[in-house]
């Protein structure tokens, strides 16, 4: 009885977090979170504003390093390797663990350059021909190629919001990441553009480990196979998405997803 319904068998753990605590100055934003991120499953982080889900997401590629007052304790590994080790090259880490933000933020350059920039500075392309291949492949994976192939040298900022967001996903993909973190990638998009991003997430699943932070619970239900509920800096519940949305085990999770507070 009570079998998880959408378990993907034989999942491979890509990242682990153990007893992670984050402080902004004196204020503790994350209170000891332990979680495994699977390679084959999309993981959604949900929770009310200020619950720490975005803060925690940002620990996974050390984005919090850019906040002067932030301090991270605990252990986070990528393929078993401690990402907070002093030997870790943070620039390299962020290529391996890419990020897509709430508001599409393409570079004020051409569509082509938006994609080519990363591979070029990371030395992933031998020449122009190589770069052309990477640009096409990345835009295809981002589901944008057919819409932009005839205007690759137009400005990326001239695209629609949804296209810009897919361009940003393409840009993250271009440097061959292993993990893609998405922080509310659809909150600035209309429903059609949102559906395209969700479809894209579905297509990218399995190729990259994907973690998405979303305020939209229906979106979490649609795109993820694992859902983690955060509240007041704690990880309250983590489980198979269909279980979380039909039969959550924690009272706080239930109250939140049924719209009783938050």
């Amino acid at each position: 009885m009570h079998e998880p319904q959408t378990l993907v068998p034989a999942t491979e753990t890509k990242m682990t977090a153990r007893d992670v605590k984050v402080f902004y100055g004196d204020k503790q934003a994350i209170k000891g979170v332990s979680i495994d991120v699977d390679m084959d499953n999309v993981t959604a982080f949900i929770g009310p504003s200020g619950c720490g889900k975005s803060t925690f997401l940002r620990t996974l590629n050390r984005m919090n390093d850019t906040v002067a007052s932030a301090r991270v304790e605990g252990a986070i590994t990528l393929d078993g390797e401690d990402i907070y080790a002093s030997s870790m090259d943070v620039v390299q880490l962020r290529a391996r663990v890419g990020m897509v933000f709430q508001k599409p933020n393409p570079f004020p350059k051409s569509i082509y350059e938006n994609i080519a920039y990363g591979p070029r500075i990371h030395g992933l392309a031998a020449g122009k021909a190589d770069l052309d291949v990477i640009v096409e492949k990345s835009l295809r994976r981002a589901g944008l190629w057919d819409e932009v192939k005839d205007r690759l040298h137009d400005s990326g900022t001239a695209l629609s919001g949804g296209q810009q967001q897919r361009l940003c996903i393409g840009r993250a993909i271009a440097v061959e990441p292993e993990v893609i973190l998405m922080d509310e990638p659809c909150s600035a998009l209309d429903p059609i553009a949102t559906a395209k991003i969700e479809e894209l997430i579905h297509e990218l699943r399995g190729r990259y480990a994907i973690v998405i932070v979303t305020h939209n619970m229906q979106q979490a239900a649609r795109v993820s196979q694992r859902t983690a509920f955060f509240h007041l800096g704690e990880l309250v519940e983590y489980g198979v998405t269909s279980d979380i949305f039909t039969n959550p085990q924690q009272e706080r999770t239930k109250d939140y997803i049924t719209g009783r507070y938050g």
């Binding site: 009885m1 619970m217 039969n247 239930k254 719209g259 009783r260």
Partner: protein, 231 residues
């Protein structure tokens, strides 16, 4: 339970639960009145049971409409979702229960309660009472989200099944001995079968209540209870 941030959602859920409570009360009354009409050979009461069934059918339609609206407009989750789905399934079962009571009432004019049918009729009121209580408790369990009460209902189905076996044997024996009563006894047999089915349906309601309350489905058991004797 805490209220929803959106108050209108609570009002809709309350309305839904109110309709189901009313429907359950009416089904329970229909069983009771049908059995009373049978015992007293009260054709007027029997006709009333048949007429009252229209309201039960109307409530089913009303609940279906409300559930579709809630799903479309509120996107219920977790226990809310389970409640709403259970409500949708429960009303179709209670509607069937109402139909069985109506069917019993419809047979009343064909059965003259007199000396010759007194004996085979004797077990039916008690059987009807147990089935009626099961319906009552199953719907109370829904109202109170009481999984234990739902389980108790499920267990009680065996009592109704035993009654049915007993009534069946009694009637067959009686018919063999009194061939002139076969027509009336055949009706009584159908009535017994109807009550037995009411017990099964109450069990189905209880299973849905259990799911709605706990999020768990009951371990393997034959859905709707075991079928006693030949069906």
């Amino acid at each position: 339970m805490a209220e929803h941030t959106i108050k209108a959602f609570d009002e809709e859920i309350d309305k839904l639960r109110g309709l189901i409570a009313e429907m359950g009360g009416r089904a329970e009354a229909a069983i009771e009145h049908a059995m009373l009409a049978l015992q007293r050979h009260d054709k007027t009461l029997a006709a009333q049971v048949v007429a009252d069934d229209k309201r039960i059918d109307a409530i089913e339609a009303e609940v279906e409409k409300l559930v579709v609206e809630i799903i479309a407009l509120r996107a219920p989750m977790a226990n809310d979702l389970r409640d709403v789905i259970a409500a949708l399934k429960i009303v179709s079962v209670v509607e069937r229960i109402g139909d069985y009571a109506k069917n019993i009432a419809k047979r009343v004019p064909s059965i003259a309660t007199n000396k010759r049918t007194l004996e085979p009729i004797s077990l039916l009121p008690s059987m009807g009472q147990v089935a009626g209580e099961m319906v009552h408790d199953a719907l109370n369990a829904f109202a109170a989200r009481d999984a234990d009460l739902a389980l108790a209902v499920i267990e009680r189905d065996a009592v109704v099944d035993d009654f049915y076996d007993s009534v069946f044997r009694t009637l067959v024996t009686y018919m063999v001995e009194n061939p002139k009563t076969i027509s009336e006894c055949a009706h009584l047999l159908f009535i017994a079968k109807n009550i037995e089915r009411i017990g099964d349906h109450a069990t189905n309601v209880a299973e849905m209540v259990y799911y709605a309350a706990t999020g768990l489905t009951l371990p393997d058991r034959e859905r709707g209870g075991e079928q006693p004797l030949e069906d």
